[in-house]
Symmetry: C2
Subunit: 269 residues, 2 copies
């Protein structure tokens, strides 16, 4: 049986070169699908495209309007192909309306000098952190992730507001377990709750407007991750005038930086 | 007389709705124009567009191929306009070739709860930091900036390699002085040298592939900045397999976070 993630991100190529997909209730958010599953599905259109060259290096997804439950169409266009890089423009539409736009950079990667300057945080191993089972969560998509929060819970009213920061650190993996790949890594980059509800534990309308993912891992490194949890770290720099940013890192359990991600989030009040 | 920055980012609307511009030798880089001036020019196409609603919140620019010296065309399309947000797709082309693609989110911003979690670094005031005048710099564009490096010089061989990090902190402003606006702020976000040449002081081929800017400042806040220097902070998380990221913050001299920016940079060796 197909993993729900593969079902939700699955696409069928059409005679005109576009891809047909449909929303999956397993990954529903409050309104429309979870943004991370939309991002992964847009990336999948490039991965499945016959003109694709190399592996993803960068992905930007702009949530221009709501994705309505049901069928959608994805057009992925290789705007420019160079010797080692390839630039894509991607559009998700329903009828005449564009719901999501995206761009992606793919590349043939070579070995170079390498180092990681960001620091892997001191955290307990996943087995020592309680899993939050969200089987009754109002947002269906969260039921597809096993989340083990080290710190930075959503809407944590157990602490005085002054003691709260915007940082979340958690172990996360697909539920049921699924081997990590570029698609699930992209989705995980958008699996953090809006920082506004961590920083100031009040429920407010909020949603990602634009997200960018930089893939530091190549396919070989992802393969070594298997279906073990990855460590997610997210924080914000600034909140104000209706928007806040979010910086995120996703690390393998043996301390390799797999992806960094940035997003701008709309919030009310 | 027009400021060189306004000359370089200037556009003329065409009968078909596109914008015509041309590269300016004052902002030349090693090959083609400085990426920051291209980013600002793409943003300007939206600012000048009659359908534009609100102020910029997010801008992503993908440097798909070289911009050749001379004339170019910019098409800016409002893909979707909602009540408070507007999503744009932007393309810079020369003849039949697309050189640069971009997306932008504009918004009508309202007052909300606000706070800054990122910290303004401890730095001397601009007057106490020596300005690096780059009047003979091989990259012409650097002559248009007054840069005062607090730390993190390009190609600094005065220290042992083990002592070098990837961080640069500098005071920067347009030279000659020019009042800060969304365009110059976008350009400044791309004015940091590739981190690879700061972290490992060797000259290697390197260039930005994709950059994203999140604007935290609104027009009123920018106006209070006048033509005084802003503080730029840039660092990298990871280098490897031909690419590294860069995270940047741009602060007003009185400690307000104006923009955060992220880019992915190609490098060789």
């Amino acid at each position: 049986m197909k993993h729900p993630f593969d079902r939700a991100t699955g696409l069928v190529r059409q005679a005109d070169g576009a891809f047909a997909g449909q929303t999956d209730s397993a990954y529903a958010n409050m309104v429309g699908p979870f943004g991370g599953i939309t991002a992964a599905t847009l990336l999948n259109a490039v991965l499945l495209h016959p003109a694709r060259q190399g592996d993803p290096v960068a992905l930007t997804v702009n949530y221009a309007g709501p994705v309505v439950d049901g069928a959608f169409r994805i057009d992925a266009v290789p705007v420019r192909t160079n010797r080692s890089t390839q630039h894509w423009s991607i559009t998700l539409s329903q009828g005449d309306e564009v719901a999501t736009t995206a761009s992606a950079v793919f590349a043939l990667r070579r070995d170079t000098w390498a180092t990681t300057d960001a620091g892997f945080p001191e955290v307990p191993v996943p087995a020592d952190v309680a899993a939050t089972f969200l089987s009754h969560a109002p947002r269906a998509w969260t039921r597809n992730y096993e989340m083990r929060f080290v710190r930075g819970l959503l809407l944590d009213t157990s602490k005085p507001a002054e003691a709260l920061g915007s940082e979340t650190v958690l172990w996360i993996r697909d539920q049921p377990a699924r081997a990590l790949d570029f698609l699930s890594l992209a989705a995980i980059c958008d699996a953090f709750a809006p920082r506004i509800m961590v920083r100031r534990p009040q429920r407010v309308p909020a949603g990602t407007v634009s997200i960018t993912v930089y893939f530091h891992a190549d396919a070989d490194l992802l393969q070594t991750c298997g279906d073990r949890p990855v460590l997610g770290v997210a924080r914000a720099s600034h909140f104000g005038r209706g928007y806040h940013d979010q910086l995120a890192e996703v690390w393998s359990d043996d301390g390799r930086l797999l992806a960094t991600s940035h997003q701008i989030v709309y919030f009310k009040e």
